[in-house]
Amino acid sequence: MVTLISQWILSLLIFFPLLGAVLVAFTKDAQKARHLAVAVSVLEMIFSFHLIAHFNVDSSAMQFAQDLAWLPRGTGIRYTVGVDGLSLLLVMLTTILCPLVFLSSYSSIGSNVKSFLALFLVLESAMIGALVSLDLVLFYVFWEAMLIPMYFIIGVWGGKDRIYATTKFFIYTVIGSLLMLVAFSYLYYAHYQANGIFTTSLIELYKTAAALPAGVQMWLFAATALAFAIKVPLFPFHTWLPDAHVQAPTPGSVILAGVLLKMGTYGLMRMSIPMFPQAAHDAAPFMIGLGVFGIVYGALIAWRQTDIKKLVAYSSVSHLGFVVAGMFAFNELGFTGALYQMVNHGVSTGALFLLIGVVYERRHTREMSEYGGLAKQMPWYAFFFVVATMGSVALPGTGGFIGEWMILTGVFQVSPAMAAVAGTGVILGAIYMLWLVLKVVWGPLNNDENKKLTDCTPRETFVLATLSVFVFATGFLSVPMLAHTEPTMKKLQQSVSKKEAYKTELVIRGTSDEPMRVMMNGR
């Protein structure tokens, strides 16, 4: 029974929200649709606990794998999904963040509720699909499918300049992903030339890609890395992010910061680096440089913003600079830290966007100068704000510290100077985040508008309290969490540092006494 569930769990996770989206679309009442969406996402979360419960922490294989025929046989394009240490945490982050986002949408989304919820469920489906797919075409389909709901979420429910922002977001991302498609197509053909069969299986193409000559690898690496770097967003491809964040509705911002940006860094770690180890090595100094420069650049710009959302958006640029720098250090510390930091950034920045949403719904402005002294009027709000801030500035005891500490330690082993420069990001991070807190939470309560503000509702309190617990839980429980990722990270590190192909396999459950390997039929 467990094996059966394990075999189908990922497909369930992918398609259950899709089913939910259909149901939500046919609901009559907006309020009922909201309840239904929450129920669907909570169920999805409960399903996803199966992954944690039955994940084999000693294995780096692709677990819970399923490999079914999809497109006609000759094309070699199959429906292949699986989870390993790299994607597990991000899948969990997605399934846990989504119910919170749906809860937050009760008050932030007032019009076209059903279409919003349906689109959001489609988005969840696509995100999980992109995280678990092990077939390049399948991945590409989900990758692009993420774009469409987000395009509408920003474009329909966004702020004043939403059309500009959403178009920019769309064009940036599509340009990147088209280049990625070209690289995938090249690989597809290169594999055919080398082995005489067509396949888009990621596991097979790891081997093909790593065997390509360095020059070719560099081009392919550049094409895929560009696609992912735009999504991350890495300096200098980040300018879509502030616009998109500022215009997006609160739930959109949360999921954009919480999960969508992680797709870029996930892609780098899943595709670009293990596929083209030689090229990744050659490009590493450059990528670390971009990441580190992005840290300082994003932080300095964030400091000078007066729009709260823009400030947090630029802080994302800074934080994700850490992630990119960490993974290109090519040691376990860097890889693990990068992955952990993705999760932490999702939690703390998600919380910050939710917090901004709370006051935005009450005051309909994002200007820092409009606020001030909220601690007096909204003590719990102030508490959550400070907690989220502490998570964001990587205070020891929060997950951000573990992530940044690992990243910086990892980078230091490779390039002390870069680590030192990146370390200034820690200082600058404190400056801009505390500046935000100073201007919003502390200070005198001067603005009369603010004197009418009410503290968080029970629903908001629940959402924010959950995230606050996560901020600290990730800070102290890193060992049990990272135990899931360790074999994968180790393998990744080994294959990359030796510039060998990344080897993995599909299994239903990772336990060694389970002989149920998925057949690699037709390959």
Partner: protein
């Protein structure tokens, strides 16, 4: 109850207290809040006494690991960072100071904050602070120490900005946090280097790994670690160039200033240097830098203290200056006397701050010493204990400050890394200390009363409406801590009695108490120093000479201060006028804040603006937006070809077909 559990309890009870006060006792009566807050520190104090006077004094090191915090594969092995606690003799001293002085201050604060609303927040922060401070000193590896290191920074941030309704307070908190963060970067870098060099962050493992061969092979790296640690110390212990946050931190409630910004948090730098002494002594360059920074800070801050008129500001600069002494002591290799001064300073500076708080409380938040005077008649306990504190800090013979400070000054001249110049700087600083402390005490407690009896409104955002203008002594909850601290301020110094005096008194125990106590901790450092530089080159005559000189200087300066301010605060004006420009410069604290603002903050802001305007908006957005515009230009030309006439399009198709035919068939 075994010792490991006790150790864990010592750390966790304050955290429990913070959680209780922060979440569950929000609506509880004040008495409950205060009791919980105080007990959360007092119980660990009792446990600490059991620990320190039990196994630790017998030479044991108690260790316990709460859980595994970070564990990553690293260079074929693993980098394990457990949440480990250990208490040895060094952390034992700190443990007693934190919980002991902490309990007294909590007791005091319960009364001091009696007019405040929502005092649960204050006690939650304070308990959290004690938790952080304890994890700082109890951490068995650098990461746990760093947890406390940053944790105390955050609590300090929250407590300085406790009265957040005034933005200046919140700003002061932010300044403290950011300045501390700059130092924290140094600590972080030191950690990274330790990982690279030793592959572990556990203090005892590092000590094992650091052999003389390794040290010789990695001398530059060790110097770098030392300097990075020093950066951390300058941030946390308010040394040049990062001291600027401490005077502003006086915006917090006075018990906070006493606990955090005098007795505990700011001394964590000294703790760290002593903890890492075995490593620092391998690098003479780092040690010399530490000593110079300490000496310069001591003098620099003391000069500012000379002219301040805010009672807490004077004490703040005095704290910076005293911290400079401690750093100087560590820098010249006399770590044990740095720690001894840390301890005596914790007593007398906490006493002074609490005394100042008592005055402020009685005067309804008046802090300007020009508006005080003659208070000793109205507040005898506060007054006389304050006098004891003053005598202790200026090094009046027989009181605690005399012993610890003179030992530091002696080693500044004759220590392993000492130099007479360092002594000169230190002695000058001590002279200034005598002057401004006596000036402060005299202006506040003696002479004519200059208290304004007119009703003056003060909007601290925490106003209380009962205006009894009669100044009177505070209740026992506030004076009891003063008296206890006064006793320790008198006797605390005997642990570091100089050799010369010991000889004179006929004590032939070899070393003084503090040296004996800390000998296991500093053993490795001493071996290294002795091997490289030989025994310290002092003599009894030198010791007597220096001691005499500094006592003489102290007496002269104190007398000078009393003579100058006998007639009230205007006494100094003649001198101020004589050196006009210099006076104003010092009154403006050498304008260091303004310098930083102009040299660091403003340029960084400009860079941020520049990045935003030219990098993001002009350059990247320019390319992004102009690119499509260029394409549009081309396509608009092309689109003019699209006449809209279907037949024309067909002609193009026709041409295409013909071309295809020609290509294929002909």
């Amino acid at each position: 109850m075994n010792y490991q559990a006790m150790l864990a309890a010592v750390l966790l009870i304050p955290l429990l207290g913070a959680l209780l006060n922060g979440f569950f006792l929000r609506r509880a009566p004040r008495l409950v809040t205060v009791t919980v807050g105080t007990l959360a520190i007092a119980v660990p104090f009792v446990l600490s006494c059991l620990l320190v006077f039990g196994p630790v004094s017998a030479g044991e090191v108690i260790r316990t690991e709460l859980f595994s915090w970070i564990s990553v594969p690293f260079n074929e092995g693993r980098l394990e960072v457990p949440f480990g606690l250990s208490v040895d003799r060094l952390s034992g001293i700190l443990l007693l100071i934190i919980t002991g002085v902490g309990s007294l201050i909590h007791l005091y604060a319960g009364e001091y904050m009696s007019h405040e609303e929502g005092v649960y927040r204050f006690f939650a922060y304070l308990n959290l602070f004690v938790f952080s401070m304890l994890s700082l000193v109890l951490g068995s590896n650098m990461v746990v120490t760093f947890l406390g290191w940053e944790g105390v920074g955050v609590c300090s941030y929250l407590l300085i900005g406790y009265w957040y309704s005034d933005e200046a307070n919140a700003r002061a908190g932010m300044k403290a946090f950011v300045a501390n963060r700059v130092g924290d970067l140094g600590f972080l870098l030191a950690m990274f280097m330790s990982v690279k060099l030793f592959g572990t962050l556990d203090y005892s493992r590092i000590a094992e790994a650091l052999t003389n061969e390794l040290a010789a092979a990695n001398a530059p790296l060790l110097t770098a670690i030392g300097l990075c640690l020093l950066l951390g110390v300058t941030g946390k212990s308010a040394q040049l160039p990062l001291y600027i946050w401490l005077p502003d931190a006086m915006a917090g409630p006075t018990p906070v200033s006493a606990l955090i910004h005098a007795a505990t948090m700011v001394t964590s730098g000294i703790y760290l240097m002593t903890r890492m002494s075995f490593l620092l002594v391998h690098s003479p360059a780092a040690m010399t830098t530490i000593a110079v920074i300490g000496a310069c800070t001591a003098l620099f801050a003391a000069t500012i203290g000379l002219v301040q008129n805010d009672i807490k500001k004077v004490l703040a600069y005095s704290t910076v200056s005293q911290l400079g002494f401690m750093v100087l002591g560590c820098g010249v290799g006399a770590f044990q006397f740095g720690v001894a001064h840390l301890m005596t300073h914790a007593f007398f500076k906490a006493l002074l701050f609490l005394g100042a708080g008592s005055v402020i409380h009685a005067m309804h938040h008046e802090q300007d010493i020009r508006k005080m005077g003659g208070l000793i008649k109205k507040m005898p306990i506060t007054g006389w204990t304050f006098v004891i504190g003053t005598l202790a800090i200026i090094g009046f013979p027989g009181l605690s400050g005399f012993f610890s400070k003179d030992e530091i000054l002696y080693y500044a001249w004759s220590g392993t890394f000492g130099h007479p110049l360092l002594w000169v700087l230190g002695a000058l600083a001590a002279a200034c200390t005598s002057f401004y402390m006596v000036r402060l005490t005299y202006l506040v407690f003696f002479g004519e009363s200059r208290v304004e009896h007119a009703h003056h409104h003060h909007d601290h955002g925490h106003g209380h409406d009962h205006h009894h203008h009669e100044i009177h002594e505070n209740p026992l909850a506030m004076t009891l801590p003063l008296m206890i601290l006064a006793v320790f301020s008198i006797i605390g110094g005997y642990v570091s009695m100089p050799h010369a005096i010991m000889h004179m008194l006929g004590i032939h125990a070899g070393e003084n108490l503090i040296t004996q106590w800390l000998a296991p901790v500093l053993e490795k450092a001493k071996v290294v120093m002795t091997a490289a530089h030989g025994e310290a080159h002092g003599s009894a005559a030198l010791e007597w000479g220096l001691m005499g000189t500094s006592t003489l200087v102290m007496l002269i300066m104190s007398g000078f201060a009393i003579a100058l301010y006998k007639a009230g605060p205007k006494g100094g004006e003649s001198i101020a006028k004589a050196v006009g420009g210099l006076y104003r410069l010092i009154l403006d604290k050498w304008r260091v804040d303004e310098l930083y603002q102009a040299v660091i903050i403003e340029p960084l802001k400009k860079v941020g603006d520049g990045f935003f305007k030219f990098g993001d908006r002009a350059l990247i957005e320019g390319i992004i937006n102009e690119g499509p515009r260029g394409i549009y230009l081309v396509t608009s030309v092309l689109s003019d070809i699209q006449s809209g006439l279907v037949r024309n399009y067909l002609k193009v198709v026709f041409v295409g077909i013909l071309a295809l035919c020609v290509w294929i068939f002909i």
